[in-house]
Symmetry: C2
Subunit: 295 residues, 2 copies
């Protein structure tokens, strides 16, 4: 249905489950106008929602958008914002089917996405098993390096226009050897404990793949790049728990398909808590990642 | 799926279409804390979304909620707000499956609802036909009378806890003689022109059913009750375009089922524009209802 009715309608696939996710972004809490163009603000809002759909192994189908617009928001700003949303929506075959525009004090963007996934392909956080390998779909820390002022192209691109890992999520979702999945929005230090807890397991993080721009920025500030990448959020890579027997084969197919490795970062085992390897020593992880309400 | 994964999943009905709608409410734009309790704020936010689903002839299934909470919002406020949402959700069999809570300057509530409807039962605004009778599912103006300070129970209840017309919408949706439907959120003076335009027709409004509390309040202020009720918003009754041949039978069944009449208010015909009957004279309607962006 075109926008204009009280609701939009679609015909869900008969063989799939539907999935839904909602995210809200608020000016001066999640982004500032100084740091981003309106086009980037729109793009990022949709990208972070698409990342949640990707984490389920699902294909996004449609989105609704509720915009709260502040008094200084002009029509040009809105068009620019919408251009950012629309560009990514077209690129990912997502139909924008409706929404609401209301006045607000600050620019607020709430996006709801509906996707579809075969029941057998859907991944949750809670499905991991002891001895599973934890892996991520890309290097980490570049978005944070962009936030921290890195001028490297990698850091700027990852910070401003992160690419949601939809194809990667569907690829991993289709494998029975992938037992659990989630997206890395708040960083490894926050998100690995979440996956481990949801699955009733403990985890060890051996080593994470650090993005070159993050490595350079951490080194320039005399910070351990591993530590920097562990705590960096908004990379929107996927975190998966994968059967150790299937990992070699799956990561080979992943690299062939996506042109980059599926990076193992650690493993899960019986117990609770998350440790980080520092040489021969395992240190308990300090959960210091990004938490909006804790700020 | 329980909340906690990146998205919630459900199995859509094989024989139905899915419908989706999103609405946002912002403190000091759509409501104030002085006027409403947090429980009422939550209730009304869900009710206005449910009304959109009802207007499609659909049954609501699930909802996601994105809350932006201001600095003065306490945990108690949030619990009270949620109690209002949850009470209505339980009463209407809607599962709250997820959402997001973020900091904001003002309390902001964005709700997305997914519903289901048989394709043959779904009603749109654009399906009305010339000679259709325009009808509403209840008397009008009580919510506005509540806003304007009426202490009548009817006005308070309709203003604070309006009942979305879900059963009425499904009843009307199931009839082939109902050609178009929408909900009355902005008032007859805004919404009849919308339905007429969407259907490419003209409309005449003969007389609208005025709620007793609205009649009393209008009279006390020396305002024509018809005029008052025409411009009153937020009644969340349904507006339907119904075949004139079937109207008598359908309204009889409606009254038997719901214990109140299906009120005819006018009719549609070929042409464009909306007139209001004043005795023997038809006056063009001034579209003066509620429009958030025009404020």
């Amino acid at each position: 249905l075109p926008i204009g009715d009280d609701a939009a309608a679609w015909k869900p696939s008969r063989s799939h489950l539907s999935v839904i996710t909602t995210d809200a972004l608020v000016e001066d809490v999640h982004f500032t106008r100084n740091a981003f163009s309106f086009e980037e603000i729109g793009y990022r809002a949709l990208a972070s929602n698409l990342s949640d759909i990707a984490a389920m192994g699902a294909m996004p189908v449609l989105a609704t958008i509720a915009l709260g617009i502040g008094p200084e928001c002009t029509t040009d700003h809105l068009l620019e914002l919408y251009r950012g949303i629309d560009g990514l929506a077209r690129g990912t075959n997502v139909a924008i089917v409706g929404g609401d525009i209301v006045r607000a004090q600050n620019l607020t963007i709430s996006i709801t996405i509906v996707g579809e996934v075969r029941a057998s392909n859907m991944k949750r956080r809670s499905g991991a098993r002891a001895r599973d390998i934890l892996a991520v779909t890309g290097t980490l820390g570049a978005s944070r390096a962009g936030l921290d002022g890195s001028s490297a192209h990698e850091a700027r691109a990852k910070h401003r226009t992160p690419v949601p890992r939809i194809a990667e999520g569907r690829f991993l979702g289709a494998s029975r050897s992938v037992h659990a999945m989630m997206d890395l929005s708040d960083g490894i230090a926050m998100d690995v404990p979440r996956l481990a807890r949801a699955s009733g397991l403990a985890a060890t993080i051996d080593r994470v793949p650090v993005a070159p721009s993050a490595e350079a920025l951490a080194n320039s500030r005399a910070i351990d790049p591993q530590h920097y990448a562990l705590e960096a959020g908004e990379d929107f890579e996927l975190l998966a728990a994968i059967s150790p027997r299937a990992f070699g084969y799956l990561s080979g197919r992943f690299e062939k398909r996506f042109g980059r490795p599926l990076y193992p970062i650690g493993h899960l085992y019986e117990g609770s808590g998350v440790n980080v390897r520092k040489g021969e020593i395992l240190e308990p992880l300090a959960e210091t990642g990004w938490d909006h309400l804790a700020q």
